[in-house]
């Protein structure tokens, strides 16, 4: 099969890819830019791993926006199966149809085939993604794949290599435009190697100070530069601590917004109180950080 993907406007080089993402408010370092570019150019799924809240899901969203195409999202969970992810038959309709025919005495040998036709098909996200009606490639986000069972992962293998879905009663359906596939994982378990090998792999790390400042500047322009600097420096320090749940970029942004709403313009031991819950998500962490906050602040101002 020819794996050649179609050309994506605005994504014909690494630099262009980065600036297209930036135009959507996403700061992509050169590594991520390279991977997104290659995933598009080579028609490969992109597997993003990393801690929670570093902006993995966001990549798919901005990509869909930049490509001006539909974003189709599957949130994985334990027990996710073909009927929730790909397709399901519309049983009530089938039943009604059978009874209607029964009443009209329209018996025939082809009955079974009739009710298993496209009319009675419920299209779940994956089937939607390979639907023929798309004018251009949609972005298919398979979020937190590590939460799904291994059975679902195996199912994805067929989908990701051929972009086709086989429905026993109907036959094989194939995408007209290969969807752009983004997979994310928080690594609550290892994904199968077979699946990973089919993907371009990128580890999304916590951002550097400069990058995080840039993100805050773009996403929360109302936060004054001085406060932004303090916020970022503080959060970066926290990530070096052994916390149960280190704050991600999402938390930095939420926290910044919360502090703004509280009217805080500068970090101090007093102003810090009250908005902890936006930054830290475990009581033990809050207790620990609260205890060391004065010292951290002192170090930051020094």
């Amino acid at each position: 099969m020819n794996a050649e993907a179609e050309a994506f406007a605005g994504f014909t080089s690494v630099e262009q890819t980065r600036s297209s993402l930036l135009a959507q408010g996403y700061v992509a370092e050169s590594g991520l830019g390279t991977c997104v570019f290659l995933a598009l150019a080579m028609g490969k799924p992109l597997l993003l791993e990393g801690a929670a809240g570093v902006g993995k899901t966001e990549v798919a969203k901005v990509l869909a926006a930049a490509l001006e195409t539909t974003l189709i999202r599957i949130q994985c969970y334990e027990g996710l199966d073909v009927h929730h992810a790909v397709y399901e038959w519309n049983y009530p309709r089938q039943l009604l149809e059978l009874q209607r025919r029964g009443a009209l005495h329209e018996d025939g040998p082809s009955q079974e085939r009739d009710i298993f036709s496209e009319d009675f098909l419920l299209r779940r996200p994956i089937l939607q993604a390979i639907d023929q009606s798309h004018e251009r490639s949609p972005v298919l986000l398979i979020d937190e794949l590590d939460r799904a069972d291994e059975e679902f992962e195996s199912y994805l293998l067929e989908l990701l290599s051929d972009f086709q879905v086989t429905i026993p009663e109907l036959g094989t359906l194939r995408a007209r435009h290969r969807p752009v596939v983004i997979l994310t994982s928080n690594r609550t378990r290892e994904l199968h190697d077979a699946l990973k090998r089919r993907c371009a792999y990128y580890w999304v790390d916590y951002p550097t100070v400069d990058k995080e400042l840039e993100i805050v500047g773009i996403k929360r322009p109302q936060v004054p530069a001085k406060l932004a600097k303090q916020l970022v420096a503080f959060v970066q320090r926290l990530r070096q601590q052994e916390l149960q749940k280190a704050p991600g970029v999402a938390e930095t942004l939420e926290w910044g917004q919360a502090l703004m709403k509280l009217g805080v313009r500068e970090l101090s031991s007093e102003t810090l109180e009250g908005a902890w819950g936006f930054l830290l998500k475990a009581q033990e962490d809050i207790d620990r950080v609260r205890a060391m906050a004065p010292q951290l602040l002192q170090e930051l101002s020094a």
């Binding site: 050649e4 050309a7 014909t12 080089s13 690494v14 050169s30 590594g31 991520l32 390279t34 991977c35 570019f37 290659l38 150019a41 080579m42 490969k44 791993e49 969970y77 334990e78 027990g79 199966d81 038959w89 049983y91 089938q94 039943l95 059978l98 009874q99 025919r101 029964g102 018996d107 009955q111 079974e112 009739d114 009710i115 298993f116 069972d149 059975e151 928080n186 690594r187 609550t188 378990r189 290892e190 190697d193 990973k196 090998r197 089919r198 993907c199 371009a200 792999y201 990128y202 580890w203 052994e242 149960q244 033990e284």
Partner: protein
């Protein structure tokens, strides 16, 4: 579409000499990675070559990220990848134009030299090697010591028998209901697809009602054994015990701890039991040291809990609870584990002794978080544990007393 990478308006710039050298060296990358134990398939290599035609070969960062994205599949491989990438970047090229050609003999030597250099570099890559050496100094080899130690009051022959008995032991798997369904004669809900297909064959009358029931899956098991000074005499036996469990169940993760945490799973998976145990004991280097249970559980929680405790795991900690570390830390880490696993079981060899009360600091602090607090002193205790595991209810039992 051959010009996808660099459009017609952006012709590939002629590569500098340095970049040409680098590009040539680069082709060794998959080979080197494979030799270093990073699995790289042919398909991956082909994709990678394809990717290289699409990025700017002169741009190091692009080449680096393209290669890393397509040749590695795990963040754990990044360090080894980085090492090779940097070396290939710096490696000399004997064919470089403009420079004097080196004599043939030297040229032939260049590649093997690079390879053996790489191979050398790989050895200390097991990060802990340096620490290991320091730990060992002044004492004798940990493995030897393990082997020369007898188990409590037992003679060597008795010990052998015990080990064999442990290996032959039949472990009954512990299942949990998953959220996936399978068709069965009985079950909570109807298998609608089957019902409808059959109804269609019978003129719209559902004559058969096949049902769906929830699939069952074995629970993951996490084993954590204390092998510090006070537990030392049990260490060998414990390894056999763990080895038996690893072979009997799917999804077992085994760790040993004393002053620090060692993961034993890969070693214990070896088919040959004696080799597996020898390999595992060879990896433990702080035998007979002090115990810092809290510290070790903490590093377990940071590095492994996320990947091992999901899906209703059963955690078995094996320790006498003598802890030199910080009790507050121990409490915190235990509560972390207790909240995330299905059942937390603590096996304590001392519990079998008459009149024993869990007064050792660590043990007393741990009690409120345990589901089960059981002895492990005789062979019978192991079979009792097996019985206990087999009859665990799907729901969560109440916590042990002694609050």
């Amino acid at each position: 579409m051959s010009d996808a990478g660099s459009g017609p308006d952006a012709p590939t710039p002629a590569l500098g000499v340095e970049a040409q050298v680098f590009a040539r060296n680069l082709l060794m990358l998959p080979y080197l990675l494979r030799r270093a134990g990073v699995p790289v398939s042919t398909g991956q290599t082909l994709s990678w070559l394809d990717a290289l035609t699409r990025v700017e070969l002169g741009d190091r960062s692009q080449v680096y990220h393209a290669s890393r994205a397509l040749l590695t599949t795990s963040v754990e491989h990044f360090r080894i990848f980085d090492l090779f990438f940097a070396k290939l970047l710096a490696a000399p090229d004997v064919m470089a134009p403009g420079k004097k050609r080196r004599p043939r003999a030297q040229r032939r030597k260049a590649e093997p030299a690079l390879l053996s250099y790489m191979a050398d570099k790989l050895r200390p890559f097991e990060a802990e090697t340096e620490l290991e050496d320091r730990d060992r100094r002044g004492s004798y080899s940990a493995a030897e010591r393990l082997q020369s130690r007898s188990f409590g009051a037992m003679s060597e022959r008795e010990l052998e028998q015990v080990k064999r008995l442990i290996q032959d032991f039949r472990w009954q798997a512990i299942y949990r209901k998953t959220r996936r369904f399978e068709v069965a004669a009985r079950g909570q809900s109807l298998a609608m697809r089957r019902v409808l297909a059959s109804a269609a064959r019978h003129g719209g009358h559902a004559l058969e009602l096949p049902r769906l029931r929830r699939k069952e899956k074995q629970r993951p098991i996490v084993l954590l054994a204390d092998i510090s000074g006070s537990m030392e005499r049990y260490a060998r036996l414990v390894l056999h015990f763990f080895c038996a469990l690893t072979h009997a169940y799917k999804n077992v993760e085994a760790f040993a701890f004393g002053t620090r945490l060692t993961r034993l799973t890969p070693a214990l998976r070896l088919k040959n039991v004696d080799r597996a145990v020898a390999e595992a004991s060879g990896q433990i280097h702080d035998l007979a040291g002090g115990t810092r249970i809290g510290q070790c559980l903490s590093s377990f929680n940071r590095r492994w809990a996320g990947r091992t405790l999901g899906r209703g795991a059963i955690v078995v900690i094996l320790s006498d609870g003598w802890d030199r570390g910080d009790t507050a830390l121990l409490t915190r880490e235990l509560s972390f584990i207790a909240r995330r696993c299905h059942r937390l079981i603590w096996l304590n060899p001392l519990l079998a002794r008459q009149g024993y009360e869990p007064r050792a600091q660590g043990m007393a602090a741990a009690l409120p978080y345990l589901d089960d607090f059981l002895p492990l002193d005789k062979l019978r205790d192991i079979s009792d544990l097996a019985k206990h595991l087999a009859k665990l209810q799907p729901g969560r039992g109440s916590r042990v007393a002694f609050h």
